[in-house]
Amino acid sequence: MTTTEEQRTDEHQNAQRQLSRVVVRFAGDSGDGMQLTGDRFTASSALFGNDLSTFPDFPAEIRAPSGTLAGVSAFQVQIADADVTTPGDAPNVLVAMNPAALKANVGILEKGATLVVNVDAFDERSLAKAGYESNPLSDGSLAGFTVYEVPMTSLTQEVCKDAGVKPRDAERSKNFFALGLVSWLYTRPVEPTVDWIEKRFADKPLVLEANARAFRAGYHFGETAELFEATYEVGPAQFPPGEYTQISGNQALAWGLIAASKLSGLPLFLGSYPITPASDILHELSRRKEFGVRTFQAEDEIAGIGSAIGAAFGGALGVTTTSGPGVDLKSEAIGLAVNLELPLVVVDVQRGGPSTGLPTKAEQADLLHAMYGRHGEAPVPIVAAKTPSHCFDAAIEAVRIAVKYRTPVILLSDAYLANGAEPWRLPDVDLLEPIDPGFAAAANHLDPDGTPVFWPYLRDPETLARPWAPPGIPGLEHRVGGLEKADGSGNVSYDPANHERMVRLRAAKVDGIVRDVPSVEVDDETGDAELLVLGWGSTFGAIVAAVRRVRARGHRVAHAHLVHLHPFPGNLGEVLARYRLVLVPEMNLGQLSRLVRAEYLVDARSLSKVQGVPFRAREIEAAIEAELGGLA
């Protein structure tokens, strides 16, 4: 369609309106390809230069019964000409591929939102499956919305007919029709999507043809149907100069691990058992064998971490990735790694719990588990990513701590970060600080008779880290294990005083990491706010958006966001003490708030949301306003 642009200028009669931002939500059956549709819309918006933030929202079932509410899969994206930090509170546009998709999402739409529905799917049977007693398209219940009824299925079938695609197969391309239509509506560039279709389906010519035809048909339908009174344009955002790509949290995390492997010169070994929503890290790393990355799909979660510990013992960068119940299963082995004092990174992509819980939904309820979820005194440093692209930095930071302090580190992400995407300004990798493995090379102690020997638990006096001596060096042969060890020699010891000394040494080592933890920065515009919003992890975007809105109304509020949860930044106590009130929004029942209350004796107030969906900015905004009202 090389003539598309000309047609637009020559024939296009509609008005074009400028928008500063729009929130679009694509919703359909699990099998309708809504994630793909949303992802492509996002990609072309990113290339266009918009800032954006995405929220894939899908059920755990691969194919729940079609047409039912349980089977609805959605993808929400906010695109804007200015900095956005969330996928948006309330969609301005809903693309609904069937009645269930409409019913599941109509409640969260902005007042007066635009609905684009696949009217072909609104037959009696589908309406009944979705639980509609009457057709919402005709019963007046959608009166507050602008509704566009588009026969997407039949138009797609029609346009594919003479390409030799059977109607049944053509029907599956209707998501590309929807994508084409929305691309037209929001004046997205056409070429990136057409190029992508051609590449992606190169080995399936019929599917390629059907998808390409459906996409173009959707686009042209918008132009010619005279159904829509306007198209909209969201201009490019002002970004700092640089090279950008669109990245999801899981991908950024995988790349961060590869970068850390390069920075340390340690070969990367990932031992992992597939589990939602962490599996994409395993998938991504499995593709990157040219980086010397070994990925091992273990028989279970325990073997995943066990193999990573074995690799770490051998001098590799051992990593395991998991979520939900997988974290529970790894607990014993994390305790072993605490005792072995070997570098290890445990990635927990948090999801709703307890037990199987909500496998595809986000939660931040593993913080206390990461902190305390082992028997005995088993302290583990914790790092948490705050945005999808920040997963890259957080992964490097976790490796840095693990290697320097010879300790397992828990890296917390969550389902929202894992699947969400945003533009990422590519870092200059040459500027990343190298990580020194600092392997032991020689004996470090003299026996009473003057013989040089190697003591595996003779610590660095500053960091309290023990030497890391992978097999292969003569004279450094040593045994480690889960039994308590004698301070220094590392031999098995049941001595009571030694045990207490070792317990305190392990705790002091982890506490001492604070020397490498940057002070927490406070965003306090005027410097005289009385309320501090303290967050961690993926609530970052919603808190930033909420704080901006509150400030726009002339109120003062400060925001600090923690990346290091254990140990906390050294200045955190002093920061908390500066504010009359501390509000802690979390997707749990108040875990960070509990930790800071215990540690700093501050009256931290918890703002909880445990629904499997991220905070909306307006929810945090309302809570801030309420607290400010109380202060006044």
Binding site: A46, F239, P241, G242, R288, G306, G310, E477
Partner: protein
């Protein structure tokens, strides 16, 4: 001395300075001695040798070796060994385990390490009892075993470790016992030579909680008539005057017979390299327990790609086709755009 020559060692060089703390009279002592006496003969280096274990009496083994070692957590040694062996092909990785460690809590890791054929030598000390927890029945204990946890007798059908290993697609499966140092050493040597996962069941006497469990077959008097040595390429014969043999019945069953009754040509010729594990499996079922004639030696030794080597090959292939990974290129592997 060239850089690659291995300095000669003695048994003493392989013993650590730690006091051995097994009960006096434990079968583990003779297994430890067999290993420490074998290693000098193998021409391997201490610094390239690693002993890994889980939990249990057998699992204390690494502390007594002057090599690198790890005493880990219950049942997980094969998983830990998998990570080590696949990242460090230059190391000799030994896993020392027991019947509880390997077959109860660690059963899953054992079978998967075997099917993947990860390069490790697994010595499973089978004493048919839980020793370190002071005498509960184990997954190899006979049915109706009366122990502290089964005062009315155990109900579980035991595992046959050799059958289990064969069923798990193991490429090397052998059995030996703690009363015959020479046989142990020969079996361990074969296991160590094997390119892949080697599984050795070692009948081991726990003189405190299950004394004499194997006495009926490994006792000095009983041995010749109760142990059936498996020798590759040889007819399977045993007995004081080699008067007994093993034949295969038309229904596939193996049976012990008097050689005089059937003639030597009727005996099964042992073929440890047979691709089909069926016959090896049948041999593992020849005896119903350590009170009937029981085969010892190498049941199966076949060549199969080693897991770590295959993994390394995939990495090398990828690097050859795509070049060594470039981080800058990786970050630009998706669509990118530039903001001026």
């Amino acid at each position: 001395m060239s850089a690659t020559a291995v300095a000669a060692t003695t048994r003493k060089d392989w013993a650590s300075d730690q006091e051995v703390r097994w009960c006096p009279g434990c079968g583990d002592y003779s297994i430890l001695a067999a290993v420490q006496m074998l290693l000098p003969e193998l021409g391997v280096r201490r610094e390239n040798t690693v002993f890994l274990s889980g939990i249990g009496c057998a699992a204390r083994f690494p502390y007594y070796m002057s090599t690198y070692g790890m005493h880990s957590i219950h049942g997980r040694a094969p998983a830990i060994a998998t990570g080590l062996a696949t990242t460090r092909p230059d190391l000799d990785v030994w896993v020392v385990t027991g019947d509880g460690d390997a077959l109860s809590i660690g059963g899953n890791h054992l079978i998967h390490a075997l099917r993947r054929n990860v390069r490790m030598t697994i010595l499973m000390f089978n004493n048919q009892i839980y020793g370190l927890t002071k005498g509960q029945y184990s997954p190899t204990s006979e049915v109706a075993k009366v122990t502290k946890s089964t005062p009315f007798g155990s109900l579980d059908t035991p595992f046959n470790p050799v059958s289990l290993a064969l069923g798990a697609e193991a490429s090397f499966v052998a059995r030996t016992h703690d009363m015959d140092r020479q046989h142990m050493q020969e079996t361990f040597r074969r296991a160590h030579e094997h390119e892949g996962a080697a599984f050795v069941e070692v009948y081991q006497n726990c003189n405190v909680f299950n004394d004499g469990a194997f006495e009926k077959i490994t006792g000095r008097e009983a041995r010749s008539s109760m142990l059936v040595p498996l020798v590759h390429g040889e007819p399977i014969r045993f007995g004081k005057d080699l008067d007994k043999g093993v034949v295969q019945r038309p229904d596939g069953r193996l049976e012990v017979v008097d050689v005089a009754d059937v003639g030597e040509d009727a005996l099964v010729v042992h073929d440890e390299e047979r691709e089909d594990p069926g016959l090896a499996f049948a041999l593992s079922r020849l005896s119903r327990g350590p009170y009937e004639p029981t085969p010892i030696g190498v049941f199966r030794a076949v060549r199969r790609p080693e897991y770590g080597a295959s993994m390394a090959e995939q990495l090398a292939d990828a690097q050859e086709r795509r070049g060594v990974g470039d981080l800058k290129a990786l970050l630009r592997s998706g669509a990118t755009w530039t903001v001026a």
